[in-house]
Symmetry: C2
Subunit: 346 residues, 2 copies
């Protein structure tokens, strides 16, 4: 496993496979611990968590495994939106609230928890912290590295990868256009940064010297091997872990992924205000082309709707995140998945 040597040294794990830090309840302590126990690298998707919930989650993982794992955080943004924009965005969602039998909601709050989260990971001494949506402030990177932690960034273009290396990241996730969930793009417009992994990986590999973790479309051994020959030293899988038994994704979400085809996903801003790839449903279709607030404002607006839709098992209004390879998804345990990814190496 020569290819993954720098990554396994960095993550102090046996297998250069990272479970993506999917936010929104997927990365339960059971999932994260099972991944690390199986010799790969589990990640708590803490993007939407309060610092307290994140710390509790870290402690729960530690109860279940002594192996290393990571925490993924969202680098915050502070978008502006006029009262009129906010009202219009809320108005667009009113029919769905009514259909789900929900009361008119209060204007949601969007607390900035990032620095508290950073303090939390420092307090709980998590070995690896990864970032999405940008590069954190210099002081954050410094304090984490001074505490002996490994830091990993996310890039969707060559330039973003270079910026991550220059900021001192120990490794960078190169997120191809195939990837499910949110796009990590931060340096250019989102549509410009939809680069397929076949193109992204070798071009990034030619421009950075830190190890690259490939993300996007990788579901089985074929994807792992392809990522390595394209210049990656590790791989990050989201959708493949989402349908495992240990994943906290809702049953209706898992079912939707298990039955989807490669052409069933869309990239939509409707749920969160940031483009993300998921299975097309009524909400993504009806909201297409409509004005939505920037992240995280739109995310806060749709959160109660998604929560209620989940309670009602109504997939019309759920964010059914998935990459472009759902035909390769399987209903199996984390250990089985990881074994299938590394089998012939052993």
């Amino acid at each position: 496993m020569m290819e993954g040597k720098r990554i396994t040294d960095l993550l102090e794990t046996e297998i250069p496979v990272v479970q993506a830090g999917m936010a929104g309840g997927v990365t339960t302590p059971e999932l994260v611990a099972a991944v690390s126990e199986a010799g790969a690298f589990g990640t708590i998707g803490a993007g939407y968590m309060s610092a307290e919930d994140m710390k509790e989650s870290i402690r729960e993982v530690k109860k279940r495994t002594s192996k290393p794992f990571g925490v993924n955080l969202f680098v915050p943004e502070e978008p502006e939106a006029s009262l009129e924009d906010r009202e219009r965005a809320a108005e667009a969602l009113r029919p769905y609230r009514e259909e789900l039998g929900m009361d008119d909601g209060d204007a949601p709050e969007v607390p900035d928890v990032f620095l508290e989260q950073v303090e939390g990971v420092l307090a709980e001494t998590v070995p690896v912290v990864s970032f999405t949506f940008g590069i954190p402030p210099k002081e954050v990177i410094q304090s984490l590295k001074q505490a002996g932690m490994t830091v990993i960034g996310t890039a969707t273009t060559v330039e973003e990868a270079v910026q991550n290396e220059e900021a001192g990241m120990d490794a960078v996730v190169a997120q191809g256009a195939e990837a499910g969930g949110h796009r990590g793009t931060f340096d250019t417009t989102f549509d410009k940064a939809m680069i397929g992994s076949m193109s992204l990986l070798p071009q990034v590999a030619d421009h950075v010297s830190i190890p690259i973790i490939a993300a996007g479309g990788i579901m089985d051994r074929r994807g792992v091997d392809a990522a390595f020959v394209l210049g990656a030293e590790g791989v990050q899988l989201g959708t493949a872990f989402l349908t495992t038994r240990e994943s906290g994704a809702q049953a209706v979400h898992k079912e939707a992924v298990l039955h989807a085809g490669e052409a069933d996903t869309v990239v939509t801003k409707a749920f969160s205000g940031k483009p993300a790839r998921g299975i097309e449903n009524r909400f993504t279709r009806e909201m297409e082309g409509r004005n939505v607030l920037d992240y995280p404002l739109q995310n806060a607006l749709t959160k109660p709707i998604r929560k209620e839709a989940g309670r009602q098992q109504n997939t019309d209004f759920l964010s059914l995140w998935s990459g472009q390879s759902p035909r390769l998804s399987q209903d199996m345990t984390v250990a089985e998945l990881i074994r299938s990814l590394v089998g012939p190496w052993e």
Copy 2:
């Protein structure tokens, strides 16, 4: 080279590398012959050619090489457009015609040359015919196969690949979203069929038994190896051949590709009416979101503009087709390129 055995048997060539049948003057007899002479498989991009020009081109290639090569044809469509639509589309282009100092043009004709082209390849006995934009009528496939020719289709989704196999194609090009030039999509909407190669190849491989030729983002040995591990048995490269010395692409087009980055391309319908990937320029920016006619009507409308822009070396109005890996493009000979793709195999 076990992986490419079925493809090299099919194409009767040494190396499982196909030069894409780029239309519009790129695939000169010099280019096609040089590719086949070097042991790979050259293709005349005859999509826009009259049957006579195509036959002349075939004869010119045969003068230069005795090795096998192919012809790529566009499966025709007959779009409808009202007089009003046509006038509006022509009107949108008027400022560009004026800027280039062109007279008002006559309404362009769009002759359907497909059946004449088919008769032409039968008459000239070309060993391989490949198709883009759909599956040709049953009788066409039958007559080509009865003449001992190999037929190859193009797919951008699993379903399209399955349809190609069912139609009797001997192999199928799986065109990932990274690919430059026109999208081959014919069975679904174009935006649904933007599947990255990392996702497309293994999912297609699981659903067809004919050999798959991977296209999209492949520029060097890394891409070739990745395509093979993902389930392809051959590869097709367009952009990589476009910048070779022997290519007929205009010098300003080659220069634009050689200096572009991975995030500089867009998918635009502005040039031809069908989505195609090329380097963003003034024309793609200014025409974005504007109504254009369906292919091939829009193509006929913009053809004189592109021709004049080419004459003036004005890249503002040229279709600068390129895939998403232009950073990997090189100014070299066909023989050097092919050697770099296969080197360590020898």
